[in-house]
Symmetry: C2
Subunit: 310 residues, 2 copies
């Protein structure tokens, strides 16, 4: 019999137990044991939050795979006791939430919405913004989430470019790759959206040099990972006007400490890591499908490349 250990904070269990049982039954795994307290020698799969108590995977002799509840795997991928396959979470709810956040904040800057939200009585200046087709949005990171965002920005009419570590091809998107491609991609970007994973190679992708490569007055949107930005360099670029505005959802320390300069900078919007979250209903279906695949001997969805780190 298949035993699935749910290893995450207890409040997650309350959210996930019912949708996960329903998804397992629907996948033909209604007889699997789903539990948050199993004897280690009986565990076949671990549904896993990296901040759970489980940190030593060597105690699970039968373990077939670890199914991460989160998109980010940076705090588990380097665990030396983890020798079985690791799958990231990529669920429709997360993809949709990200798409909505990115489209919304890109449109907010495109339309100059803040001036109206904070408008003064009688402030009637009927200057329509340019069309989206005349704005270039660059997406750094063309994985599942970056691709979903690129597609919806194209549907809105924006000119979309993208950059990734290795070459990618998305219809309608002008793509760049590799270290040299990054500067070329940034040079024409009115708005840049960061959607890369957190790996040693992506740390401080936006730094003094790359921020200087953007056109003056560009806008930065970061719903990816806090480590992608050199915070001191971004604050300096905001001071000089090189960057007109930054909308940031992720930070090196979360919650963002109350005394962090981002909170008080007039050209920074802080959102509290809400761009996208795993949703129990949609995520449970992905987990059940991966258990089904594991039991059927089929390759798992969203397997992590351990060398690349995502």
């Amino acid at each position: 019999m298949t035993t699935i250990l749910f290893a995450a904070h207890p409040d997650r269990w309350a959210q996930y137990e019912a949708p996960l049982r329903a998804a397992l039954a629907k996948a033909g795994l209604g007889d699997a044991t789903l539990t948050c307290t199993a004897a280690p020698q009986q565990v076949d799969y671990i549904v896993y939050a990296p901040n759970s108590d489980v940190q030593d995977f060597s105690v699970f002799p039968r373990l077939k795979a670890v199914l991460n509840l989160w998109a980010g795997v940076e705090t588990v991928v380097g665990n030396p006791t983890l020798t079985v396959p690791l799958a990231r979470m990529v669920d429709d709810g997360m993809r949709e939430g990200m798409r909505e956040y990115v489209a919304g904040h890109v449109l907010r800057h495109h339309l100059g919405m803040d001036a109206h939200i904070k408008g003064k009585p009688g402030g009637w200046q009927p200057n329509a913004p340019p069309l989206a087709r005349d704005r270039t949005v660059a997406i750094l990171g063309l994985g599942e989430l970056g691709t979903a965002c690129a597609e919806v920005l194209l549907a809105l009419g924006f000119t979309v470019t993208g950059w990734s570590r290795s070459a990618k091809s998305i219809p309608g998107v002008t793509s760049f790759h590799g270290p040299d491609g990054l500067t070329d991609c940034l040079k024409t970007a009115d708005i840049v959206v960061l959607l890369m994973p957190n790996t040693p190679a992506t740390e401080n992708t936006l730094n003094a040099d790359t921020l200087a490569a953007l056109p003056r007055g560009a806008v930065v949107i970061n719903p990816g990972r806090g480590t992608l930005i050199d915070d001191e360099a971004l604050l300096a670029a905001l001071e000089s006007g090189q960057i007109a505005h930054a909308t940031l959802d992720v930070f090196r320390v979360e919650p963002l400490p109350e005394d962090h300069p981002y909170w008080r900078h007039p050209n920074v919007t802080v959102t509290p890591h809400i761009a996208s979250e795993t949703r129990p209903e949609t995520a449970s279906q992905v987990i059940a499908e991966n258990v089904r695949r594991g039991e059927a001997g089929e390759p798992l969805l969203h397997l992590v490349n351990r060398r690349a780190g995502y």
Copy 2:
């Protein structure tokens, strides 16, 4: 020889002359006379802004058609001296601009963006919004602009419903029509977008009764026409909380007078009639195509139904 009179404010002539000449040449009408001062007996077509000096069309004996520069024709359609065909302006730029404005303001409310734009240091409350698929946006008016907005909201994942005078069918949109259909459409709308034309039949479409049909806390977005809303009823619904927010781009009097209560209401956003404007480059192509059609004896694009008033 074909003579085209450009009848609009002089600043429009400065914007339109070059793109209009280019579009006419491209349409094979390079030998047409384009002018803003023609002898009335020589005029074949009038490119027309309803606020121009030309108000008596009976002085143009050869006139074949009036090609409106604006989407709205409410101030010309009833002119008794106008007996030739009248075409509305429907240009790609206007359609795109409207799509962007509507998508942006719908997402702003969907994401609860204002709380972050106006956020306080340390205000870290990581509650992700629901997904777009769990929000219903109702579009009142399913013409060219309403359809374009419905399509982009579908691409963003929203549940989209629509209402129009006569039955319309748009893939993916649950459509209602006629007076009874309006209440049914409003009953489930989290956000309602007004995109009907200004006709006697559409005046005060949102009034005390129809506002009461919306779920409590609904959001109103009006980029259509100021006359679609009973302003007193909307202010009362905002006061009571029946309507959580109204974003208004069009008004009975424009510019909106500085002492109008909309300017100071905390739950109203005023935008200065910028949701969509005719763009000289794209609009000139539509005008040139209609002159070409007129000269070739083909039916004009975007003909106004004089009885319906749009």
